[in-house]
Amino acid sequence: MGSFAIQTQELTKHYGTTTAVNGLTVSVEAGSIFGLLGPNGSGKSTTVRMLCGLLPPSAGTATVNGMDIVGQRRAVRWWIGYMAQAFAMYGDLTAWENIEFYGRAYGLSSREVRLRASQMVERTGISRYLQTRTHKLSGGWQRRLALVCAVLHDPPVVFLDEPTAGIDPATRRDLWDLFVEMAQTGKTFFVTTHSLDEAERCSRLGYLDRGTLVAWGSPQEVRRAAVGLQPGRRWFAIATPDLIGVCGAAAGLSFVHRATIAGGAVRVTASDECTCSRLAEGLAGRVALADIVETEASLEDLFAETRP
């Protein structure tokens, strides 16, 4: 079976009569970045919280780094790093004091903390803020600090729950560069995200919809599988300087399900009777036929079609 850092088997979580996660079965290879996608309320955070031992599952089993998340809950904690969805460092402590605390929590001596932190601190660029109280740091620096604290003890498996939510694109890219670098050193990342361009950087993806894994595999495989879940759809991209006008006009066409602006173009999800020329016709001369191309569905297109 190769080396799987995380394996779940029919992992399920009920809250009263609501099923937050329904029979999740996935295997995540060591040294890979696994992205768990899905709309709000689809069960991503619940999954991460179960895998980190914060929530007991209602049914099913899972292992992290070969250890059972229920029976070896405490042992699992030695081998994982966790970055919560919201910033959860101590705001009244300085960045360095937070690093020192989390290092000691994992049994590192002050010397070891200094040694291990130095590289991460340098790499993330947070060194100039080490003596700043963390509530004064911007969101991006808070995230970098949370990441340093999560990986300080060199865990083989790292869980990141929406690590870039509310972060500017440049910081987001920086953080992802870090995740990819660390994955190349053999760490396994389990990341939940809404951001589909981030999902494209994952080695494997799982797509959760209302607690159920509806697709999983490489980003391409997930895209293809998700297309299969939405038969009778075609996707188009329209290049135009008048993004708002064209998007509004396209949304008004009877065969168009959805029109959005993404990546400097208007993206259209339409029924299968739609063609480039019908779109051009419908847009009544606003756009030249040459500026309309039929594309593969992006994850963004597919994501928007699912409803929580």
């Binding site: 919280r49 980190c52 929530l55 904690r77 919560a84 959860a88 929590a105």
Partner: protein
């Protein structure tokens, strides 16, 4: 339509009212607490608090060795002010009963008093009064003459000048000063309050900020987490205890009659209880809101029912039972015993044992609840 900025300072009142009402109805538990607790409190405290001092536990020492007759005792108890709880066999034992707080009044029946009174020879009865309880002391001071009167009636010796005179001797607080009575109890109260508030806010704050969850993912176990949180607070609150004791001694001039080391030792036990109570409240409250309501209810109940101001012996039996569940009740007994009466561990073994017993109980209960909540992912 042009929209103008609102001129009225009350602009937006409707929106804020709407929002606040929604907040209130959104949390039915909190709303129920807000409505029911004041009603409960009024009923409980209304029944519990009685300012009319009665049935003050009283012992006597008969120099002749002969006990008072049933009839004598009935005469003494007729007013309802005193309750004879026993006879002691020496003056030292009488003093000891007062120090140990088994009685708050003790009087000496002089040898041959009945004969002397019959013969018209003046008899003096020393009445020792626990001055550390101002309510009792004031009653006893003025009411001690009733002892004389009762005995005079008994022997038909009512005359002017009276054949029997009482010598009230106020012990422990001869000046009947309020700080002597109140400060030891207030020390217990403030130490309890600060302990509860510190821990409750700290734990609920961590839970609401998400830092508790982040810590629970680390290998730090629940007991280590709790101890690590409580020990620094315990040190701070112990510092508070030293501070308030020093203020009592040097600012208010209330001397500590007993052993300071014993007081600090038992105080350490009590502060563990108060920190444990804070922890316990934080495991039951779902928000700072609820925690504040629960803590306020508990603190007011402690204030009124644990004997800070109001005599527990005057409360209805059910309220007495409640007061005996409150850790502060026992610590106030310890404080008044050591500070005012110079009591030792032998005199205070019961409140001392209760202080440590409750500390262990509260801490164990809170730790188990906390560990259970963290295991269920509810912390």
């Amino acid at each position: 339509m042009t929209r103008r900025p609102p001129a009225s300072p009350l602009h937006g009142l409707g929106a804020v009212l709407y929002k606040e009402v929604r907040h209130l109805v959104r949390e039915p538990t909190t709303l129920a607490m807000v409505i029911i607790l004041p009603l409960m409190q009024l009923v409980i405290y209304g029944y519990a608090i009685n300012l009319h001092v009665q049935h003050v536990p009283t012992v006597y020492y008969s120099e002749s060795g002969e006990p008072l007759s049933q009839h004598d005792i009935q005469s003494l108890e007729a007013s309802g002010d005193f309750r004879i709880v026993g006879r002691v066999t020496s003056r030292a034992a009488l003093m000891h009963a007062l120090v140990a707080n088994t009685a708050q009044i003790g009087f000496v029946v002089p040898q041959g008093y009945a004969t002397d009174m019959t013969l018209g020879i003046p008899v003096r009865v020393p009445v020792y009064i626990d001055g550390s309880d101002l309510n009792v002391a004031q009653l006893a001071h003025f009411g001690a003459s009733q002892v004389a009167l009762a005995l005079e009636h008994r022997y038909g010796a009512v005359r002017t000048p009276p054949a029997l005179t009482v010598d009230p001797i106020i012990l422990f607080n001869p000046g009947l000063r309020t700080p002597v009575f109140l400060l030891p109890a207030l020390i217990g109260l403030v130490i309890q309050n600060i302990g509860i508030v510190l821990v409750t806010l700290s734990i609920i704050g961590e839970r609401e900020r998400g830092t508790l969850e982040q810590v629970l993912v680390t290998p730090i176990g629940a007991p280590a987490l709790l101890l690590g949180k409580l020990i620094p607070y315990a040190v701070v609150v112990f510092g508070d205890l030293l501070g308030v004791l020093a203020l009592m001694r040097y600012l208010f001039g209330v001397p500590i009659a007993g052993n300071v080391g014993l007081l600090l030792f038992l105080g350490a036990g009590f502060l563990v209880t108060s920190l444990g109570l804070g922890l316990l409240i934080s495991t039951y409250a779902r928000s700072q809101h609820q925690a504040a309501i629960i803590a306020a209810f508990f603190l007011l109940t402690s204030f009124l029912l644990s004997g800070v101001f109001f005599d527990i012996n005057l409360m209805p039996p059910i309220m007495q039972a409640v007061s005996h569940l409150l850790p502060l009740t026992y610590f106030i007994q310890v404080l008044r015993g050591i500070v005012n009466r110079g009591a030792g561990l032998a005199d205070l073994w019961l409140p001392a044992a209760a202080t440590f017993g409750l500390a262990a109980f509260v801490l164990a209960w809170a730790t188990l609840r906390f560990a259970r909540l963290t295991a269920k992912g509810c912390a």
